[in-house]
Amino acid sequence: MSGEAEPAPFAGVPDDLARAVEAALFAATEPMTVEAISAHLGAAPPPAIRAALAELAAHYTPRGVHLVERGQRWLFQTAPDLAHLLRRDHEEPRRLSRAATECLAILAYHEPVSRAEIEAIRGVQTAKGTLDILLEAGWVRIAGRREVPGRPVIYATTPEFLVHFGLPSRRDLPGLDELKAAGLLDPVDDALEAAMSGSGAGSGEGDDDTAPDTLAPDEESA
């Protein structure tokens, strides 16, 4: 949650823009980006909307409903600590098979990946239906093709994935930094080369959307 910046312990009367943003997000059926909110509120300037969102998020932090950001889109949802009260009358979402769960994790931590790359990590073929389930759930999308021989389809996660798993951004995937530091997101070949060359510096190649990971100290230590 990125909105916890300024604690506003006694929430005064919100200004007009904050009220409008509050109402729009409350009425929206889908999470909204700042741009979407702006467009809906007659082109209110995005910085003002961002400020209103921060104010609202802070206001709602102690309440039973939270305002959260998921992949740059904002939504209201109930506070996680009240799950036990609310869960009863909501149907549990469909359980994922073990294979699907692993595919999803591999996808999320390595995206974009091809099916062959997923299989290389799992050491087993992926049944046709496994990726379909993830696509159907709306957590995974086809992200194009990799420009290598065979031009395999590559997959990536969707904004709904972040929404469902309560992740403000992909950078907030649990343990992402540790995995990177340990070189566990690098291809085996790279890691092998690094290990064999003696230096053991886990090549910092893996993912690219976060800052270059600090040198992975070494296999042993991480």
Binding site: A28, P93, R95, T101, A105, F165, G166, P174
Partner: protein, 277 residues
């Protein structure tokens, strides 16, 4: 970790290698329980309760091979990939046991390292999956607004039309519906007969392909400047050309649609081709 992995799949038949393994009972022979040989290896490795990076590969290989041997003794059907892995591990083991100087080319230490790296990656992803599933998930732990009113954007067309469009539309309608009176005006035409005579006469002199337009009367002729008459001549000459082709006296060729139409005399010797019907 096994708890975590099991949590991710709670409710499924797979229970994980939860029971404390003893050497003899460790192997319950249910291959359905594993997601492939690498998964089985990882499970065996985990039972050693040591850091995956320090796993004694030879022990692991022995355990795997023993497991497979046992399964074979029980005549369980083993999936091919488990057997492939077994063969590969047997090879790895023998290579590792060779004295250093006799080691074969793919360095067995490297192969062992590769196996360890793969196990570490699978293990890491399995833990990541468990942590992912344990998050506060929407629809399970946190909930969205149950009855959102919905944001609606009503699209409205602002219709556009201008005076010219309006008037020309009316003109179009009037034209379409006014009683049509055809008046055949008396005008100069080139008759088919004269065209036929002219074309066949010229064709008799021509040696090679000629374009149809070359058969028309020259524009310089005073009477032939009227564009309507020229079009009539063109039409009649065209029909004349078709007629000559039909009679086998000429052949017609056209390279492309709307391209120039060419014709030439058809000798008996020359095979018929490029006929344009």
């Amino acid at each position: 970790m096994s708890e975590a992995a099991a949590e991710g799949t709670a409710g499924e038949a797979w229970q994980g290698p939860a029971s404390a393994p003893t050497p003899d009972t460790a192997l319950y022979l249910e291959l359905d329980g594993w997601e492939g040989p690498l998964d089985l290896l990882l499970d065996l490795a985990r039972r050693q309760k040591v850091d995956l990076r320090r796993i004694p590969i030879l022990d692991l290989v022995d355990q795997y091979l023993a497991y497979i041997a046992r399964a074979e003794a029980l005549r369980l059907e083993l999936a091919a990939d488990y057997l492939v892995m077994a063969a590969w591990l047997a090879y790895l083991k023998s290579a590792l046991l060779l004295p250093r100087e006799e080691q074969p080319d793919p360095d067995p230490e490297e192969l062992a390292m590769r196996l360890q790296l793969r196990l570490a990656r699978l293990s890491a992803m399995r833990e990541a999956a468990a942590r992912l599933l344990a998050r506060d998930r929407l629809g399970r732990d946190v909930f969205r607004h149950g009855a959102p009113e919905g944001l609606r954007v009503d699209k409205k067309h602002r219709w556009q039309c201008d005076m010219y469009a309006l008037l020309s539309a009316y003109g179009r309608v009037k034209l379409r519906t006014q009683p049509v009176v055809h008046m055949v005006r008396d005008r100069m035409v080139m008759t088919l007969d004269s065209a036929l005579a002219r074309v066949s006469a010229m064709l008799g002199l021509a040696l090679d392909w000629m374009e149809l337009r070359e058969f028309l009367p020259p524009e310089s002729g005073d009477a032939w400047q009227d564009p309507r008459l020229r079009r009539s001549a063109l039409a009649s000459s065209f029909v004349a050309a078709l007629e000559l082709a039909r009679m086998g006296k000429a052949e017609l060729a056209q390279e492309s649609t709307f391209g120039p139409l060419r014709l030439r005399r058809l000798d008996a010797a020359r095979p018929e081709r490029d006929q344009v019907a």
